[in-house]
Symmetry: C2
Subunit: 690 residues, 2 copies
């Protein structure tokens, strides 16, 4: 009966050694579109047909959360398939057996670290059966089912599968910076839905920074009144977020970044600052690392922090509480005589020791509210209690070091999605690579990782296109087996999952055309799309030199804001060129020539749009570069086809065209230049050395 059997981890590793397939990584079985890929999956022959009379039954101890999740599942199933399902709402009337989908859960899950999230999913001709220890596992199973839907002849169906699944890491997070640019509650909600769809379970909210204090404080209302430009979450909104997340099995970890990154705190309460006698601070409008720092020698600092933490400890029910602690250079401490005297008195040799003193006081304050303190790498100083948790932005070495010293820790280095690296880049980052030597106990301290969405350059309208779909790939890295790492298959699945994510109201695809429509001012956006699809935003921090090119109130709906890190066009082109250079097959050759011609011809229509829209002047050069480099590519392919060797003057011109093609335009750069260069270099059989 079982004829197509594909199985992960359990017994494929042996096979893997034989086939030496590991280097290329495992593919998801049979072209299924699962992301993250489950731990074990058996695909059987046949399907389960979805029909209008689809019903859900539940047994065991299903709670209200699971009823609501099941109702949301029905609605998504219905919109995904167009089926007018007879059943609209799942209530306690659905307790019992006999549903098309039966869900059995042993107990309601607790939304906390290390809760059981496992599930089994069995789809046969007779129906669908989900079993899980907790409803959190069952909710993951519902997401898996939605990813399994495939078109059949008349309607939609599910493949017959047996899945046993559980996460590799217990901490699979997304950090959203709502301080640099505020992100209102509806943005948070739709991203929570996106997270749930790819089985992530931690939302980390970076709530304060130099650019804003984003929560309502009842103990010190001046903090949000003077520190937020009116853009903050009310306490009711915070509770709503926590509840919304919990309904989706997601923990919410709040971060109040201290003692550095403190301009917004100090704009409200300047006396907490470290500059003697300074009577006012301003909310910061630029990006970067700034000097305003809380004074750790001022008792009032602890009074205010304790009051705010107390309010927030009650709202954020999770055990973990983040105090930031990063990038404090202590410049204002150095210049403050009274702080210097304090350090001398306490025998602190440097600012790190002073900050450690500060952190340790916060830690005990947090412990009085039953919280465990989380902080960035910098908090790990000698003497830091082992109950603290380290979030590593510095890298795998710092992560491993934390674990070796006995701290719980998780990775963010490599998952900085604001840097606009490709999904490939993030997918390669593993929090626990084979190269690391740790004891089993130490390995358990490595909790997982978090994608970090720093928000200097994003606004509510564009943030989704920075988070998605790349975060789905990070979610897979943190959930699936280490040996699920086939790049091509990852990209194939990512594109499909990306489309599905739109059903949550996420704007990661739609916002791009919205921006281009605005830029085109009524003109046809086709030529803009063609150029934008091959333009990548400048990576790392180069888009915003010195952190001062953009202010927080600058326009963020321009050319670079429509561009994204991954370009499907570019990937298809790269792959065709790679294959063509290997065997000169005509199919790839035709594809390459066709694509180059589209790029070459694009300039003519784009120039008309640019002329009507001053906002687009910044990409006129880029468009010209694309035309020129595509022409170069066409010439190179022509020479290659004719097996002709180019003369020196052509090569010299080619170098110039390639160099010019690398110039940025509209804070983006062309993503196909290296590939075209490969074609050129193949003519002269020398290695690329640019």
């Amino acid at each position: 009966m079982i004829d197509r059997r594909v199985c992960f981890r359990a017994f494929c590793c042996a096979l893997c050694l034989i086939l030496a397939q590991c280097a290329w990584g495992f593919q998801a079985p049979d072209g299924l579109n699962l992301m993250p890929v489950p731990q074990e999956i058996t695909v059987n022959k046949g399907n389960y047909a979805l029909k209008r009379d689809f019903r859900i039954s539940l047994s065991g101890k299903p709670d209200e959360r699971l009823l609501q999740a099941s109702t949301r599942f029905l609605r998504r199933l219905s919109n995904r398939t167009g089926l007018f399902l007879a059943e609209g709402y799942i209530t306690n009337k659905n307790f019992g057996e006999g549903g098309s989908l039966h869900i059995h859960v042993k107990r309601p899950g607790k939304v906390r670290l290390h809760e059981d999230e496992s599930y089994t999913l069995n789809i046969s001709k007779k129906g669908i059966r989900v079993e899980a220890e907790t409803d959190l596992g069952a909710m993951h199973a519902l997401e898996t089912i939605l990813q399994l839907i495939e078109p059949g002849k008349a309607s939609y169906q599910l493949p017959q599968v047996e899945i046993t699944d559980s996460p590799r890491f217990p901490w699979r997070g997304l950090m959203m910076d709502v301080a640099r640019h505020f992100q209102p509650i509806e943005v948070i909600k739709r991203n929570l839905d996106g997270m749930a769809a790819v089985k992530m379970n931690v939302l980390h909210l970076h709530l304060t920074d130099d650019q804003g204090f984003r929560v309502e404080s009842k103990s010190y209302p001046i903090l949000h009144e003077k520190g937020s430009d009116g853009q903050y979450f009310t306490q009711i909104e915070l509770r709503t977020i926590v509840r919304y997340a919990e309904d989706r099995g997601i923990r919410v970890v709040p971060e109040f970044d201290v003692p550095g990154h403190a301009s917004a705190w100090l704009a409200a309460i300047p006396e907490l600052g470290s500059v003697e006698g300074k009577e006012s601070y301003e909310i910061e409008r630029n990006a970067g690392i700034f000097d305003p720092t809380l004074d750790p020698t001022n008792e009032k600092t602890y009074v205010v922090l304790a009051a705010v933490f107390k309010e927030m400890a009650e709202i954020f029910t999770d055990e973990y509480f983040h105090i930031g602690g990063d990038e404090n250079e202590g410049k204002h401490w150095d210049g403050n005589k009274s702080i210097q005297a304090f350090m001398k008195e306490k025998g602190f040799k440097n600012n790190h020791e002073l900050q450690n003193y500060f952190n340790t006081r916060l830690l005990s304050s947090l412990e009085s509210y039953s919280k465990r303190m989380v902080g960035w790498d910098e908090i790990m100083q000698p003497g830091l209690p082992k109950s603290a948790v380290i979030q590593s932005w510095r890298g795998i070495d710092a992560l491993v070091n934390s674990a070796k010293q006995g701290y719980q820790t998780f990775l963010s280095n490599g998952y900085y999605i604001d840097l606009m690296h490709t999904a490939r880049n993030h997918y390669k980052t593993d929090p626990l690579p084979d190269t690391v030597s740790l004891t089993d106990e130490q390995k358990k301290l490595i909790l997982g990782g978090e994608a970090t969405m720093w928000a200097e350059l994003v606004i509510p309208h564009t943030v989704d296109s920075r988070i998605w779909p790349r975060t789905a790939v990070i979610a897979e890295r943190l959930w699936s087996s280490q040996d699920v790492n086939d790049m091509d298959d990852m990209y194939r699945r990512m594109e499909i999952i990306s489309l599905q994510l739109e059903e949550h109201g996420l704007l990661h695809i739609a916002s791009r055309d919205q921006i281009l429509r605005k830029l085109a001012q009524g003109g046809d956006i086709k030529s803009l799309q063609t150029l934008n699809n091959i333009s990548g935003p400048l990576q790392r921090y180069t888009r915003n030199p010195g952190g001062t090119m953009y202010q927080s109130y600058s326009p963020f709906t321009l050319w670079a804001d429509a561009a994204v890190a991954d370009s499907e066009t570019s990937r298809l082109f790269d792959s065709a060129v790679k294959s063509y250079l290997e065997d000169k097959n005509s199919k790839d050759g035709e594809y390459i020539k066709e694509q180059l011609l589209i790029w070459y011809e694009n300039h003519e229509s784009l120039v008309k749009i640019i002329n009507a829209s001053p906002m687009l002047r910044e990409i006129e050069g880029l468009s010209e570069q694309l035309m020129e480099v595509s022409q170069l590519g066409m010439e190179a392919v022509y020479l290659l086809e004719k097996n002709e060797t180019p003369d020196l003057s052509w090569l010299s011109d080619a170098e110039k065209v390639l160099k010019k093609a690398r110039l940025q335009g509209g804070r983006t750069e062309l993503m196909n230049v290296n590939t075209i260069e490969q074609i050129v270099r193949s003519l002269v059989k020398i290695e690329s050395g640019n």
Copy 2:
């Protein structure tokens, strides 16, 4: 100095008579993109260049609301032009003179009926000056400025104009039905921004109906607990909406529809129902008119209503309060002996008199909270106090009748945007046409009108595409002079304003492609767009026969949900055909043939997409019809060009093709069939009589 002088109303009417231009209506001057068109405008030579150092100054009595509105204005100006403005926030530091834009307001406006909303706007080489009695007028001026932005050579500019503006009607509303499908607060907010952009000033929220009770009640929490499926506004959200609207000069009028449309009330409190001894009611899932009705002879009905109204009267600060009162057929009253006895006792001859008794009691209850009662046509019964206000869904006769009887009244008939009529249709509807004979006093009672967004067939993701851009056209009808009625110019401006409305996060354009992407399941959506752009959703109530084809939980992200009422493609084609049939010019001929060929060829690529997506099977016939009718059109144009008369069998086939082309597919119909029929009929010189 003034060389292009165009002036509205003030002295163009004389000119109008001379040029006999009135029949075609006035165009907006000089191709400006203003909607609504201002009352008086003089366009001078020259421009005002927008630059990075743009600053705002304020004088008179600007309040906090205007400071915030000015900050929002800056941000939109910046995103619209790409200018990195040096100024980010407008605060009381901006009081004084000397800004690039100077705003002078005499007093803070009160957001209430008949408040002064007038303004003058003067743009010269030196700068921009706004003067207004109230900040509400000044905020309208800011919207006018944003609509005046035009591309210059290097950057953006404003034309030098002198505008004197004020609304024709004081009540320019949009009704949103949040009962049939709930629309969460972010949907309301983005639509409030859209309304403000086209100078509308009333949001009417239809908060209860058979399908849901959508507000949190503190006096009777069971109402939202059992009447809403968990989908309702909390009281804090309601206050947030009222505040958000007020910040944009918009009144919020709540509607609690009684005594009919009451299933949701009764699902919560069955004893208020009119069926003797009935112990439970269900929330309605279908669309239509249903029997469950509040019992007007039960004193508890008034106790509950008074309590709810009291809570809501405090939250909704506007003077007007809507009690619905429509479509109560009183069937349950007829069948209730005790109600019949009550009627006999009171001497009521029919259900209308009983309902009038009910309404009059509500009216006095509302008056005790200083509210004026608004209701639909049906509430106007003999004896209704003159303080009541009539919203007319029945039509202009009912409206005029109300005014003649001394009631304030406003029009919705003709503005039912849920019926999917074209913008043209709504634009022609005037609340006070010349044909009406009323005294000046009576005319003043006609307050304006309201677009009504009934929500049986819309969800949060699609509602924007039903509201916009057509509501902008209704906004113009209610603001601008009666003689602004050029259809072509209206459509030209509507398309531009529609693009601008995207900046508020409205999804009226983006949601269409999102749906098509979902339907295409990863395929290219181009051929879907081509067909969808010429497919209009079935009009009036034909899409949902009997109100039972769709339930409230049915999928609403299918083919018809991507289609919209107005098709630019169809308008351009109609206009080319019209012109071509008049003079057979080759330019139109080429355009027509090209368009017909695109439609004809579309089927081949679309079929591939359809085959991969069962959800699209419902439009396979429609796509084929488009292919066939386009082929017919091409043949007809060919015959016309050759001056050949078709033979009878061709004509007979043509009739069949045209008839088939009118079949619906995916709850839409092709919008170009009549126009293609015109080409065919022109061959035989007979009038279209289908």
